[in-house]
Symmetry: C2
Subunit: 210 residues, 2 copies
């Protein structure tokens, strides 16, 4: 939307267009680009997001993407594909507590994360499954590591099938809540969804799946 006159804090107020050359210190354009990229990739997916849109959102020129990350591809790899959380670490944290409430803890944890800070990375991933080969692979690796360790630790059988079943429920919930935006799932509060979804996830983890 707004893409010019974002220069109000510049030292020379008489020049409306931003000056060339090195900008005053203290502005980390690299970080700004990563954050803008996560937001724009989350909204539009990999090939829906343009380098110009990301740069505009970060308040810099589009050439900065190539300067700092080599290419749009490189920016996507740094901003989205390198997940900011470790699946094994997250899984270990969720093991504490009664095993029959595991599904509950999982649903609550994922919804809380996706609603909050790291959520755009997840949205960027599932929105880029089409359009970027590695997005699906990264998502799959994450769920595989996460659920394989978890299901193994509670001693259930048929680990690969249970893993994909759990993934299907979580990905589906993410798609409906954040991407396709079906009401009332989009605006439902977290605890309502925990009560509704957790027992189903629990069955995939420890129940009889035929």
């Amino acid at each position: 939307m707004r893409h010019d006159e974002a220069v109000s804090t510049t030292e020379n107020p008489e020049t409306t267009a931003r000056r060339r050359g090195r900008r005053p210190a203290g502005q980390d354009t690299r970080t700004a680009l990563v954050e803008a990229a996560r937001a724009v990739f989350a909204e539009n997916g990999y090939d829906g997001a343009t380098v110009r849109a990301i740069a505009t959102r970060a308040g810099v020129d589009a050439a900065m993407v190539n300067h700092w990350f080599g290419s749009k591809e490189g920016l996507f790899a740094h901003a989205v594909l390198e997940l900011p959380f470790d699946p094994l670490e997250l899984q270990a944290a969720l093991r504490d507590g009664p095993a029959h409430e595991l599904g509950e803890r999982i649903v609550r944890t994922f919804l809380t994360r996706w609603d909050g800070a790291g959520g755009d990375v997840f949205q960027a991933l599932i929105r880029s499954i089409t359009g970027h080969e590695q997005a699906g692979r990264v998502l799959r690796d994450f769920f595989q590591r996460f659920f394989t360790a978890l299901i193994t630790s509670i001693g259930s059988d048929r680990i690969p099938l249970r893993m994909t079943l759990c993934a299907s429920q979580l990905v589906g919930m993410g798609m409906i809540r954040y991407v396709a935006k079906f009401e009332p799932m989009t605006t439902a509060d977290i605890e309502t969804l925990v009560r509704a979804v957790a027992p189903n996830l629990q069955r995939y983890l420890t129940g009889d799946i035929g």
Copy 2:
């Protein structure tokens, strides 16, 4: 993959390139375009699919898309957005049989369709949720009509929430099986998935969801 020399059945074998002008009768390019469009949209989503790729697959020139459908947009509307099946009709057919096996019939029916003839339309829809505004709306309308009528008929409460819960499980299963392709869900046979998923869907339809 193959994109030229698909002209082996032409009347003049000495001309390698296809002649201009009207082609011999009996070739319904309009239908060929619709079928090719469903396949290519299913593989690549709306903006991943190029008009040239669709036309090549149909064996005609890209300009035919504009001639017959006005635009890429128009072709998408005819080939994907106008669903070839009626949700209410489908729902009515699934009502026959015991209510506690409803989830089973639903999972089996959807997997059978998606694996078979009309499956590319569904894949095209979910692959185009990013990139095409109306894709999500059409998908939502379908599930809403389908599940709202169904849940109403069996007398459960909280119809909108149950509808989105069911949609989340079915969309998630479709994403994992056809789009993201996590093993073993991609190659699992239908009855295995029915046994695994149907009880969860059944709970969303008639169970206690908190």
